[in-house]
């Protein structure tokens, strides 16, 4: 069943210059859908639009069949959608624990649920329990990203959108994050992952979307691209270096 869908969305940052030119995606519930493509394909823009940070000029965003186009960003989490942006989204001067507590904002009146949520993410990432009194800004880049991922999961979202969670991270940390995301499938959490790290993202994926220059280029279940990744990437390189 489709849980999140974008239908023919057009997005521009400035005037008539369209970054997304009628992109459509259908995200299957409980599966890991990855969105890949060369630089400037509009992957991050797609994710931002799905999460209400950008409003499409045309087209619609659907969540469980309900039109949520134009819904304010701060309503998404209580709807059941969480998002980890590419840019740093932690609060560096707040402690790790305070960062996590703010992740529980929508259930702040239920102290028991907050405690359980904290225990839930601590069980996945014991490092956060150890560092809970440290200022978030003192964590390493990888630890900060883990904090962001953990913070997004506190409310047990149905859909988890992540924008390049492993960019600039050490390979060992990246591996941990991919293993963790793969694990979410067992928890029935739907994952939408935008990634430059094509190979590793593909490994954990169920369904693949390829964007190019703001358009759908190709899409299909993982099996469809098995063994063809090399060609796909070569294709981008040919595209990016004219005549290459």
């Amino acid at each position: 069943m489709t849980i999140v869908a974008a239908r023919e969305i057009e997005v521009s940052y400035y005037g008539d210059i369209l970054v997304l030119q009628g992109v459509s995606v259908e995200v299957e519930e409980g599966k890991i859908t990855i969105v890949i493509g060369p630089n400037g394909a509009g992957k991050s823009t797609l994710l931002k639009t799905l999460y209400g940070l950008l409003t499409p000029r045309r087209g619609r965003i659907l969540y469980r069949g309900e039109d949520i186009t134009g819904m304010k960003v701060h309503h998404f989490l209580s709807k059941g959608l969480a998002y980890v942006p590419q840019a740093r989204s932690i609060f560096p001067e707040l402690t790790v624990r305070e960062n996590l507590l703010l992740g529980c904002w929508i259930m702040r009146r239920d102290g028991k649920a907050v405690q359980e949520a904290l225990e839930y993410v601590f069980s996945f990432f014991p490092m956060l329990r150890e560092k809970q009194r440290a200022k978030a800004g003192t964590l390493s880049g990888g630890q900060q990203k883990i904090l962001e991922v953990a913070r997004g999961l506190l409310t047990h979202p149905e859909v988890f959108l992540l924008d390049e969670p492993t960019a600039t991270l050490a390979p060992i940390v990246a591996k941990e994050i991919y293993a963790f995301l793969e694990n979410l499938r067992a928890h029935k959490t739907t994952v939408v992952l935008v990634d430059q790290n094509v190979k590793q993202a593909f490994e954990i994926s169920d369904y693949v979307y390829i964007l190019e220059l703001g358009r759908n280029r190709a899409q299909g279940p993982k099996a469809m691209f098995q063994g063809k990744l090399r060609e796909v990437i070569q294709d981008w390189l040919d595209y990016e270096i004219p005549g290459g």
Binding site: Y51, K72, V73, H74, H75, F76, L77, S78, A82, Y83, P85, A87, R88, S89, I90, F91, P92, E93, L94, E98, L101, L102, G103, W105, I106, R108, R151, T155
Partner: protein, 290 residues
């Protein structure tokens, strides 16, 4: 000489706490919205005049008048945010637009006070029987002592609020990363409006209490308090609410210790020299981050 110095320190700390409160209000507004409230001192004078009015017309003393000014100023701040700030932040040049807007508001407030209460200095009758209390051979001016006590209590509550409640943490969070609060389910506009309400509430409180330290008030005094608030937050660290408290104490001490060695009229000069030195030595302020 030593006694004079101690007396100046007492005075400086008592006033510094009040300055700190004024600065904390301005700093919360600046931190959350990146907008400097150049009408801060004028709002403070408005509160002072409301206390004057309450005292003259109804025999209510300045401390009792807090019951009026605190909720009123919170409401004004909350509404003012929705009226102004989202538009200002969308302006082509938000800094210039907000500067002009808030200077405009300061002129409106000053003129309003002039129209209602006239240009003559007004004074609020001192509500206590004794002017000062002495302890250990030193004199504590009672008005300043009580006002500082109130301010200290409010500052303590404010710190508990900022560090121990969800809303307070969210305010600290939005100061550090405005983009990131909405994805946690926090409405950034509502949070900002609450912060603006709190910022004005604090300056309303300071305005009602300032008449205990300086009973004579004039409509044009606001500008000097805006300047004090601005110096205090630059000294302490822009956008750091606790920094404003430190800045307020430094400013209060500088002003009062300066008056021991130099003519009293030079006191503000000394305070501003400290500001200039600070800008060269540590431009991010005492508690600010570079």
């Amino acid at each position: 000489m030593a006694e004079l110095l101690v007396q100046a320190v007492i005075s400086g700390v008592l006033l510094g706490i009040l300055y700190g409160l004024i600065g904390m209000g301005m700093n919360i507004i600046y931190g959350v919205m990146r907008v400097v409230n150049f009408a801060h001192g004028e709002f403070m004078m408005l509160a002072a005049y409301l206390s004057f009015w309450a005292s003259h017309a109804h025999g209510i003393n300045p401390i009792q008048s807090l019951l009026l000014t605190v909720p009123l100023f919170f409401g004004v701040g909350f509404v003012l945010y929705y009226l102004l700030v989202p538009r200002l932040l969308q302006a082509e040049d938000p800094e210039m637009a907000s500067f002009l807007t808030f200077v405009g508001i300061s002129l409106v407030l000053t003129t309003l006070i002039l129209l209602v209460w006239g240009a003559d200095p007004r004074s609020v009758p001192f509500p206590f029987k004794r002017v000062s209390v002495s302890w250990g051979g030193f004199f504590f001016p009672l008005g300043r002592l009580i006002s500082a006590g109130f301010c200290a209590a409010v500052i303590l509550l404010l710190i508990l609020f900022l560090y121990r409640t969800y809303l307070g943490r969210a305010i600290r969070a939005i100061i550090q990363n405005r983009e990131a609060v909405a994805i946690l389910g926090i409405d950034p506009h509502r949070l900002s409006a609450l912060s603006m309400g709190i910022g004005l509430l604090l300056v309303g409180l300071a305005g009602s209490l300032v008449v205990l330290s300086f009973p004579a008030i004039t409509p044009v005094m606001g500008a000097s308090y805006t300047l004090v608030a601005f110096v205090v937050i630059v000294l302490g660290g822009l956008g750091n609410p606790l920094g404003a408290l430190v800045g307020g104490l430094v400013f209060g001490l500088a002003e009062n210790l300066g008056a021991v060695f130099f003519p009293a009229a030079l006191a503000p000069v000394i305070a501003f020299l400290i500001l200039i030195i600070m800008i060269f030595w540590r431009p991010q302020g005492i508690l600010g981050r570079p």
